[in-house]
């Protein structure tokens, strides 16, 4: 998010719509080499569609405009044949649901080796098979030599997610996208998987886009954060800054809701009033105004981005003062 000179990923004004509904509007994201950026927001805020757009895996019934650059290469509008060469080699992805992310009828070793064979990053099948064992060892799976012959159903969810991570890291991608990689896992293995993720990208000096609704995980893993609501980025900046001094009212609400302390007045957990509207049902102007406790008539107009262009800042007419929240 900071003003990176030579970014790995540079998303500008990314807008995605179906024939009738706008899913994403004017999204900017910049990630530098070795930088880890969190993308947070409630379900339905557009996080996953953003990641699919970067992977070039958008369903064919949506239209994307704007720019998604990976290094020097523009990905939007690139034909599938060329995109496939980038995917899995320069940009890789770890998905949310490890239980279904692997092919149930293919051996683990073959699934890891395939990632390298597709892009010819290993000279032979044997070399790819050997490298697969090393990769499984690197994600601390027990007895990788035997594991390559196992099928996914013989592994636990945490183990499967580590296999998915091994596949994603197989070709040393410049950018790793993680879409809620620990949400479906037991709390006990979440930290292990997070540690492996961070170590994996650090060893490769890779950039990471980490999508989650878990603010604690972002604070744990990322240096920069972008907050998404209604298909827009409403606030962005260093994690320290944004989490300590949220400016956008939505960020403020999210932080309050993630605080498990009980509200002294109501005796209940804090939550943001209302729920996320369905895609296309967000209000005009500020997308958050239908749930915002500070909304005024001014919010009918779209709030401008306050802060560095494409960098840290927020889009709110009535930002929280920069008082420190404790």
């Amino acid at each position: 998010m900071s003003t990176v000179v030579d970014p790995v990923l540079r998303v500008r004004d990314l807008t995605i719509r179906t024939r009738s509904v706008e899913l994403l509007r004017g999204v900017d994201l910049t990630i530098g080499r070795g930088e880890r950026v969190g993308l947070i927001g409630e379900s339905g805020s557009g996080k996953s569609i953003t990641s699919l757009a970067i992977m070039g895996l958008l369903p064919d019934n949506v239209q994307a405009t704007g720019s998604v650059r990976l290094g020097e290469r523009e990905l939007l509008g690139t034909p599938e044949r060329e995109l496939a060469r980038v995917r899995g080699r320069d940009v890789a992805m770890v998905f949310q649901e490890p239980m279904t992310a692997l092919n149930p009828t293919m051996r683990i070793g073959d699934q890891v080796a395939e990632a390298m064979l597709i892009h010819h990053t290993q000279p032979s099948r044997a070399a790819a098979a050997d490298r697969a064992i090393e990769l499984l060892e690197a994600v601390r799976l027990p007895d990788p030599k035997a594991l390559v012959r196992a099928y996914p159903h013989q592994l636990s969810g945490g183990q499967r997610q580590r296999v998915v991570l091994a596949i994603a890291l197989a070709n040393d991608p410049a950018l790793l996208i993680c879409d809620e990689p620990t949400t479906a896992l037991d709390v006990t293995v979440q930290q292990l998987v997070l540690d492996l993720l961070v170590r994996g990208v650090e060893e490769r000096d890779a950039a990471m886009l980490f999508i989650t609704h878990d603010l604690a995980v972002v604070a744990n893993v990322c240096e920069q954060v972008a907050v998404m609501y209604g298909g827009r980025i409403v606030e962005a900046g260093p994690v320290n800054e944004v989490f300590r001094r949220p400016r956008h009212r939505y960020t403020q609400g999210l932080l309050a809701a993630s605080d498990l302390a009980v509200d002294p007045h109501s005796g209940q957990l804090r939550a943001i009033a209302g729920s996320v509207p369905a895609a296309g049902r967000f209000p005009e102007g500020c997308v958050f105004r239908s749930r915002c406790w500070k909304a005024t008539d001014q919010c009918r107009a779209e709030p401008p981005w306050t802060g560095a262009p494409h960098g840290p800042g927020y889009a709110c007419w009535h930002p929280a003062q920069s008082e420190v929240i404790t």
């Binding site: 044949r81 899995g88 395939e114």
Partner: protein
Amino acid sequence: MVGTVLRRLAVFVASLAVSTVVVFAFMVLLPGDPARVALGTDASDAAVDQLRHEFGLDRPLPVQYASWIGGLLTGRLGTSYVSGAQIGPQLADRLQVSLILVLASMVVAVVVAVPLGVWMAVRHRRPIGVVLSALAQLGVAVPAFLAGILLITIFAVRLGWLPANGWTPPAVDPVMFVRQLVLPALALGLVQGAVLTRYVRSAVLDVLREDYLRTARAKGLRPAQALWRHGLRNAAVPVVTVLGLQLATTLVGAVVVERVFVIPGLGSLLLDAVGNRDLLVVQDVVMVLVAAVLLVNLLVDVLYVVLDPRLRLGDA
């Protein structure tokens, strides 16, 4: 995997044993005395008793059952009550004819259904996919005998490219054999293929929505490659089920098409035997059909285990 296959094999043998009892019991319970039928209503009781003795029908039921099973196991299926001919060789002949016809039609069905079903699934949002889907639905509604009559009208009567009916064993005249096989195999196969196409389509559609196919794309496979390498084997499991059911029903159901094309198959043997009250032939034919259906089910079960490692119990 070997353990699972052995278990299925044991189930197969047990089912076969039970079904022999059921088939035998059915034939005993059916009203009508084969000796009386053979001799006609005017025959004297003494003559009927004499014939019953010759057929071995005066023996206790367990003895009759044991001698029938013994015959099945050694290949001596007895003689027809009506014609007095050996049942074994005749049945083997007819079975061979039916198997050739059924297998040829299944090949037609698979060759039509698999590429078409996959294509329809991939194009399911486009007009061509919808049109093909509707056509397949129409195909399902056409009975095989009607398809047979249509094919005869067009290719035999109008165009004169192929013979309208008949059967020549491949050893006698291979060319004639193929020429006569084409139309009945198409009649059975196209209709089965229409049904199968819909199952292939829905199986592939299901697989296309799977997360592991997205993982395959994320690895860098193009859509068709991802479907080919990761999708088809998974989609095959439900398709194999339907294929097995179709094979079993076609084996029995081919009888109508056998009649239309004047093919001496198992179905016509069974119909003739029922018409003549030739009970031992009925009993043997039914037993062969039951065994064939059970065998197909066994093959399907084994194929499951080969296709889907999750079904391999006990070797984790």
